[in-house]
C-alpha cells in the first residue's frame, strides 16, 4: 500500500465515523422514530449511540490527522512495522513452495 493511500485512510477514518454517526441519527429521527424528536431527553443526547459515534469520530480525527501528516512524510523504512508480521503474499508463497 502506498504511503499517500495510508495517510489518506488514516486521515479519513475519523470523518468517516462522524459521517456514519450523522447518517444513523438522521435515519433514526427522520425515518424510524420521527415522533421522538419532540421528546428528546438529556440522557438521549449524551448516550444516544449515533451521538457517541459522532463523538468517537471527532476524537479520532483529533488524534489521527497529525499521525496522517507524519505518515505522509515518512519513508517506507519508517512505515515498516517494528515487530515482524508476515505479509499474506509471503504466506501464499510458502504454501505454494510446499512440495506435493
Amino acid at each position: 500500500m502506498s504511503t499517500q493511500l495510508r495517510a489518506l485512510l488514516i486521515g479519513m477514518l475519523g470523518p468517516a465515523l462522524q459521517a456514519a454517526g450523522v447518517a444513523w441519527d438522521l435515519l433514526e429521527h427522520g425515518v424510524f422514530a420521527r415522533s421522538e424528536v419532540g421528546h428528546l431527553t438529556l440522557e438521549h443526547v449524551v448516550s444516544g449511540p449515533a451521538h457517541l459515534m459522532m463523538a468517537t469520530g471527532l476524537a479520532l480525527s483529533v488524534i489521527c490527522i497529525p499521525i496522517a501528516l507524519q505518515v505522509a512524510t515518512a519513508s517506507p523504512e519508517e512505515l515498516a512495522r517494528p515487530d515482524d508480521i508476515t505479509s499474506d503474499e509471503e504466506v501464499a508463497g510458502e504454501l505454494q513452495a510446499v512440495p506435493k
Binding site: I10, L13, L52, L79, R81, I85
Partner: protein, 200 residues
C-alpha cells in the same frame, strides 16, 4: 408492490423499542463501552496503517491495554451501581482488568504474544458467553434487546476465532486487520444494544 413492502418494513422497524428501557436516572453503560471499543478498534486499524510511525510515542503503544483497564474499571462501577446481574458484570470486569494487565505485559516486552493469547482466547470465549447467552434478558428471536446482546457475544467469539487462527497460521497482515476491525465491530454491536434496548 416493492414500495408497499419497503413501507411495511419501515413501519415494523419503527415499532421496535428504540431507547425503550429505563435506568432509573443512571446513565446507561452499553453505549459508553461501545464508544470505547469503537475508538480503540479504530486506533488499532490506524496502528497497522501507520507501522513504525505509531510507535514513536510510547503512550500510543499502551492504548489497547489502557482501554481494557479503563473498561474494566467502568464495569466495576456498573456492577456496583446496577442492582441486578452483579455476578455477570463482575466476571466481565475481572476479564477486562486481567486482559488489560496481560496485554500491558506483552506491550512492554515482559511476555510473548503466545502467552498473552493463552489468556486472551479463553477470556474472549467466556466473555462472549457472559455478555451473549447469559446476559440476553428476553426471548431470543422475539426480543431485539436479546438478539443484539447475542450479537455482542458472537463478535467476542469471532475475535477468539481470529486469535486462534493467528496461533495456527502465525501473524499475518490480514489477521491483524481482522482483529482490529473485529474490535470496531464489538463497539458497534454494543452501540446497537443501546439503540434497541436502553437499559444499563
Amino acid at each position: 408492490m416493492l414500495a408497499i413492502e419497503v413501507r411495511d418494513l419501515l413501519e415494523a422497524t419503527g415499532r421496535l423499542p428504540m431507547h425503550g428501557g429505563t435506568t432509573g436516572g443512571a446513565l446507561p453503560g452499553h453505549p459508553f463501552f461501545g464508544a470505547i471499543f469503537l475508538f480503540v478498534g479504530s486506533l488499532m486499524v490506524v496502528e497497522l496503517l501507520a507501522g513504525g510511525v505509531w510507535s514513536r510515542a510510547y503512550w500510543r503503544r499502551m492504548l489497547w491495554p489502557g482501554a481494557l483497564l479503563l473498561a474494566g474499571v467502568g464495569m466495576l462501577i456498573v456492577s456496583y451501581v446496577q442492582p441486578d446481574t452483579k455476578s455477570l458484570h463482575l466476571t466481565l470486569a475481572t476479564l477486562l482488568l486481567l486482559g488489560g494487565y496481560v496485554e500491558g505485559q506483552y506491550r512492554i516486552g515482559k511476555i510473548s504474544r503466545a502467552s498473552a493469547d493463552a489468556f486472551a482466547i479463553p477470556a474472549l470465549i467466556v466473555g462472549g458467553f457472559v455478555i451473549g447467552p447469559m446476559h440476553a434478558n428476553g426471548a431470543v428471536l422475539y426480543s431485539a434487546a436479546a438478539n443484539t446482546h447475542l450479537l455482542v457475544g458472537v463478535v467476542g467469539w469471532i475475535l477468539a476465532g481470529v486469535k486462534l487462527m493467528r496461533v495456527h497460521f502465525g501473524p499475518t497482515i490480514a489477521l491483524e486487520y481482522s482483529f482490529a476491525s473485529g474490535v470496531m465491530m464489538l463497539g458497534l454491536s454494543l452501540l446497537l444494544v443501546q439503540q434497541f434496548h436502553g437499559a444499563h
